[in-house]
Subunit: 148 residues, 2 copies
């Protein structure tokens, strides 16, 4: 899946991604990187609103699973169950959320459970970057459903 | 502060609140209730995007502190430091986030620290309601800064 087609999918299916002006920078099985500018994501202090930061991190995390499950489980659905985010520095401009599996070694077991039980849980970690620094950390627990 | 003036403040200062079509239903020192409709907050499954749900919960939590600090600390700033959210049911329509202090008994100490040290931390809990049920739980740790 190309960054362009992921971006198009997000903008069409999740209108808030368009409102946040999310763009996809990189898409692979290892990581997904999404970016968003300051302007539509401003808060009252002229920095990035914490809700935007977490939402972009969540989109990157969800997108990574969407990309990884497309081939083996094209009709699966992926649902967020729990998330947490810590904010380390204010974000004053365009920022990037980079999502990777929290434990890549869990993936085979996740696929096995999804095949056998039609349901499995996995954790994705997104790091927010701004101005060359990691400025926030997101973790999301997702449940995937769905047969082959 | 009236629901109308909180809503106006949020729409003016945090453009994403306008994109999510957030409305303020109730504002008091005990609780803030914000609402948002499905349409601008849709995901690809025609339910509410988890990022929207958490962002509205965060706005309600932040607003509660904003309202409570206006009189004693009119020039304070309130910053989210950490948040977590658990999603219990899909949200299929207009939902409400109701924010209260996680531990109301902590408030006097919070004000004392803010006065003495110019900085204090407090936790706010928001519950998401849809169709008469609690469908999600948010907790946010905030830091307030700022002299009298």
């Amino acid at each position: 899946m190309s960054p362009q087609s992921l971006e198009q999918f997000l903008h069409q299916q999740i209108p808030l991604s368009r409102a946040m002006a999310v763009t996809a920078l990189h898409v692979s099985e290892e990581s997904v990187q999404l970016s968003a500018p300051l302007q539509p994501n401003l808060n009252h202090r002229a920095t990035v609103f914490g809700g935007s930061a977490a939402a972009v991190a969540l989109l990157a995390a969800w997108s990574l699973l969407h990309v990884r499950l497309r081939a083996p489980f094209p009709s699966s659905t992926i649902v967020i169950q729990r998330q947490s985010m810590s904010y380390h520095r204010p974000i004053l401009g365009t920022f990037v959320a980079r999502a990777v599996l929290a434990q890549p070694a869990d993936w085979p077991r996740f696929l096995r459970l999804l095949t056998r039980r039609g349901r499995a849980r996995i954790t994705v970690a997104s790091t927010l970057h701004y101005d060359g620094k990691a400025v926030g950390f997101f973790t999301g627990d997702f449940v995937a459903f769905g047969g082959q």
